[in-house]
């Protein structure tokens, strides 16, 4: 057999065997990977909308997905807004809980971030940052309080606390939230999805 034929046969065989292996492993893990992503989203929705026991996807576009959080009776009790944008280092994705009129925040959870450890990465810390997002008046754009305060009571209803030493990360989160809320309000006006519908199930 010529060298050229051997090279072609060996590389083709190795490629085919590798491809078959990967196809098998990909099929076996596909369901679990999708389940992990789904579970993470569901846990976040239940966390950011206290009282919600399940959720329903209402609308989806690039960097914005809106979920409806429902209580045990199937009534819509709030929205879980999954929004993403650019942070200081990389992409930040977050889930914000609001009431159904989009005028008040409930809670927030950071889904994805690669901000500076010890500084910007504190955006996913409950005590340092997330607690300051609870129950805020979001009927208009929220603003950032600089310099930072120590307790949520020191903030006005439409103010969010800054993380000391991580202003860009704090501003990035604020920008993502303000844009997402504005877009959600616009979508509701346009009737892009129904709200307050009684649940059939």
């Amino acid at each position: 057999m010529s060298l050229y034929s051997r090279m072609v046969i060996v590389l083709t065989s190795v490629g085919l065997i590798s491809g078959s292996f990967l196809a098998t492993v990909g099929t076996l893990t596909k369901e679990q990977i999708a389940l992990n992503i789904q579970r993470e989203i569901e846990e976040a929705i239940v966390h950011v909308i206290p009282g919600a026991v399940r959720s329903e996807k209402l609308y989806e576009e690039k960097d914005l997905t809106i979920y409806g959080g429902k209580d045990g009776d199937g009534a819509l009790i709030g929205f879980g807004i999954l929004a993403a944008g650019v942070g200081f280092q990389d992409r930040i994705a977050l889930m914000l809980g609001t009431n159904i009129s989009l005028t008040r925040t409930k809670k927030m959870r950071i889904i994805e971030q690669k901000e500076t450890p010890g500084l910007g990465a504190n955006i996913d810390d409950e005590e340092t940052f997330l607690i300051f997002w609870e129950n805020k008046d979001c009927s208009e754009h929220l603003s950032l309080r600089k310099p930072a305060v120590k307790t949520p009571e020191e903030l006005s209803p439409m103010e969010i606390n800054t993380i000391t030493g991580a202003t860009i990360s704090s501003e990035s989160v604020l920008k993502i939230v303000n844009s997402a809320l504005e877009r959600a309000r616009q979508l509701i006006k346009e009737g892009a999805f129904q709200i307050g519908e009684p649940d059939d199930n």
Partner: protein, 203 residues
Amino acid sequence: MTTKSIVQEFTKGLWDENPVFRQLLGLCPTLAVTGWVINGLAMGLATTFVLIFSSLVISSIKKLIPSQVRIATFIVVIATFVTIADLFLKAYFYQISKALGPYVPLIVVNCIILGRQEAFSSKNSVGRSFIDALGMSSGFILALLVLSSIREILGAGTFLGYKVMGPWFKPWIIMILPPGAFLALGILLGIALHIESKTKSRK
């Protein structure tokens, strides 16, 4: 052909030919993921899986591979196991997979793995290649654990997430940032060279 015993074949990876401290291979993941011990451990285990299985396959088919396409063949085999490791982590260790980000797929270009295939597995038996891969992986895990322990303890005052420093301790945030990786690795390499020169002068 090597004349080392099986034990020597394994232990050479721990110190004499340690991939990080003595050969300076695989430094990209070493520097990038060692901010936290759990990430260093997960990267070490994923690399171990890829190195062992790649070595087993390459040493089994070495006589069939024409030398002109050996590197391409090695890369296809390595990439297959890296993708399997990546999918496995995504499916069963989702949070760790998220924390490691692109560094698991980048194991494909880790010099330790391609280097061992070229230098060892393509010239030795399956058994010796397995022992060599096991030794090198253990040396790599050891290096990642030492580096990540120093960085996590000094940078956050924790080990594997558990607080190990008292309330008096003010974390050195720089240690979990990229400069901390270079500082810690530089000091460890200095210590390794010092030990080596002392050992040589005694002989």
